[in-house]
């Protein structure tokens, strides 16, 4: 059927209206002579509508006379008619061709540069650096793909704030993904090393500067560990002269972290019922368009769930249409007294969760202290570790 339609379109076809006392006679004459008629339907008494190919229509004139019917062309379809129409509207054709050509040309260009990972000042700086390196809107995709490695290498050299940077091309968008450095880059000017946290110093290795602490000292956060100063004798006067330098070294200390968790013995728990109210809405920026709701609205207490689906986000990160489904389920709340085992298990689980947030920490010792505080149970977990606590800060003049 699909092939028939294609052939009909390419060869051209017409919709005809057959009027007469016996349209069936003409239908039989047409089909009997080997021609193809389709979509034959009676539209009014004595009027039959049908479709026939153009070359067939040219051959049925004799048959029309023999049947005694009148045939009128209702509409013309297909490529031959379209071609004739286009030939008459040359500027339209030129415009359409130009449009297609322009679209194809524009799709070979990079039209947008999107940066992920950097915000504000760093983003603007990275954008400028990318433009200097050759990545700018208007360059071809092929050109960017050829120079991708070079631009990435150059960007890594000129962007110390990034630990990794990658460029990918998605359609007409060049996506630059940068992973910002968590720790600040080494200070270029004179600097001191100070304690990043409280602890007892276990090891001091000085590379540059003068150590201000010894092993066994107790330090508090912000205390000076290694001073960014170097003493040397003036060759002319013979006096000792202080020179400011960026301090360097490792100061390891025993450090303790406390994780405090409070778990209630009595908790409120919801009891969900099957009765629910479901609402569908569309959101476009700040506009809310209600679609339809069904079910019964909960009278007082309800449990609310929201499901959000973005409809074709495209490259619009911030804006776009969202389909929102809200479910309000009837709920009643009741108090539940938890068993001591449950409370303990919950406290330990929360402690484990908080412990996971202390990344790159090698725990040497762990102590737990449980306290019963009436309706609550308190757990304080102390973690002991040894780590480098030195942190570079610009040199302070008062030292």
């Amino acid at each position: 059927m699909g092939l028939e339609k294609i052939i009909s379109y390419l060869s051209g076809y017409v919709e005809i209206l057959i009027r007469g006392p016996q349209p069936e006679k003409l239908i039989n004459l047409i089909t009997g002579s080997g021609l193809y008629l389709w979509h034959v339907r009676r539209v009014a008494p004595g009027i039959v509508h049908a479709k026939i190919r153009v070359h067939g229509y040219l051959r049925i004139r004799e048959l029309i006379k023999r049947s005694g019917c009148h045939v009128k062309i209702h509409r013309k379809h297909g490529w031959p008619f379209l071609r004739r129409k286009l030939a008459e509207r040359r500027m339209f054709l030129v415009g359409a061709l130009l449009f297609v050509g322009l679209t194809m040309y524009l799709s070979t260009l990079v039209l947008f540069v999107r940066i992920e990972g950097f915000e504000g000042r760093h983003r603007d700086k990275l954008l400028e650096a990318l433009q200097r390196a050759g990545l700018r809107p208007g360059m071809t995709r092929q050109e960017l793909l050829n120079q991708k490695r070079r631009i990435e290498r150059e960007m890594m050299l000129v962007t110390p704030e990034a630990v990794w940077l990658g460029i990918s091309v998605k359609g007409v968008v060049a996506e630059v993904k940068a992973v910002p450095r968590k720790t600040p880059a080494a200070a270029a000017g004179p600097s001191d090393l100070v304690a990043a946290t409280d602890g007892i110093v276990t090891k001091v290795v000085t590379i540059r500067g003068v150590p201000a602490v010894r092993e066994g000292d107790t330090v508090a956060r912000g205390d000076l560990l290694i001073s960014g100063i170097r003493w040397h004798q003036d060759s002319e006067t013979g006096a000792m002269v202080a020179e400011e330098i960026p301090a360097g070294g490792i100061v390891e200390a025993r450090v303790w972290y406390d994780i405090e968790v409070i778990e209630p013995k009595i908790v409120w728990k919801p009891r969900l019922y099957n009765r629910q109210w479901t609402c569908y809405r569309l959101r476009w920026n700040d506009r809310w368009i209600p679609l339809f709701c069904f079910g019964k609205k909960p009278a007082s207490h309800y449990f609310w769930e929201r499901y959000v689906k973005r409809i074709y986000p495209g490259r619009n990160l911030g804006e776009g249409v969202e389909l929102i489904k809200d479910i309000y389920r009837d709920v009643s709340w009741h108090q539940v007294r938890r068993s001591p085992e449950d409370v303990k298990r919950a406290a330990l689980a929360e402690t484990a969760l908080k412990k996971k947030q202390l990344k790159n920490l090698i725990i040497e010792r762990q102590m737990e202290a449980w306290t019963d505080e009436g309706l609550f149970v308190k757990l304080v977990t102390t973690l002991e570790t040894t780590q480098d606590i030195a942190m570079a800060v610009p040199r302070r003049k008062e030292f």
Binding site: E24, I30, T31, G32, G34, Y36, W38, V40
Partner: protein
């Protein structure tokens, strides 16, 4: 007593050849009550949205229904679409 089968018919049955292709017997193919294909017909006798009458070698096929239309009409095949209520073989020999 039924009519004796012709030589051609007997030969086709013996050789397992479909009768509609060799002897141009009419073939009706009905899909649910929506689509009917009539092969080896001998023309349309009457057509309107409620009734289509088609002539065949053996007699008339009368199709009754509603919104009936001839989806395609060729020399040896007619396709009818619509809601078909009844297919009747009228005066078949």
């Amino acid at each position: 007593m039924g009519k004796e089968p012709s030589i051609g018919e007997r030969l086709a049955q013996m050789l397992d050849i479909p009768l509609d292709t060799t002897l141009e017997w009419p073939k009706l193919e009905l899909t649910a009550n929506r689509h009917l294909v009539v092969e080896n017909h001998r023309g349309v006798i009457e057509y309107d949205p409620n009734t289509v009458r088609i002539n065949t070698k053996f007699g008339e096929v009368k199709i009754s229904g509603s919104n009936l239309s001839l989806v395609s009409a060729l020399k040896d095949e007619i396709v009818i679409d619509g809601k078909i209520n009844q297919v009747e073989l009228v005066d078949w020999r």
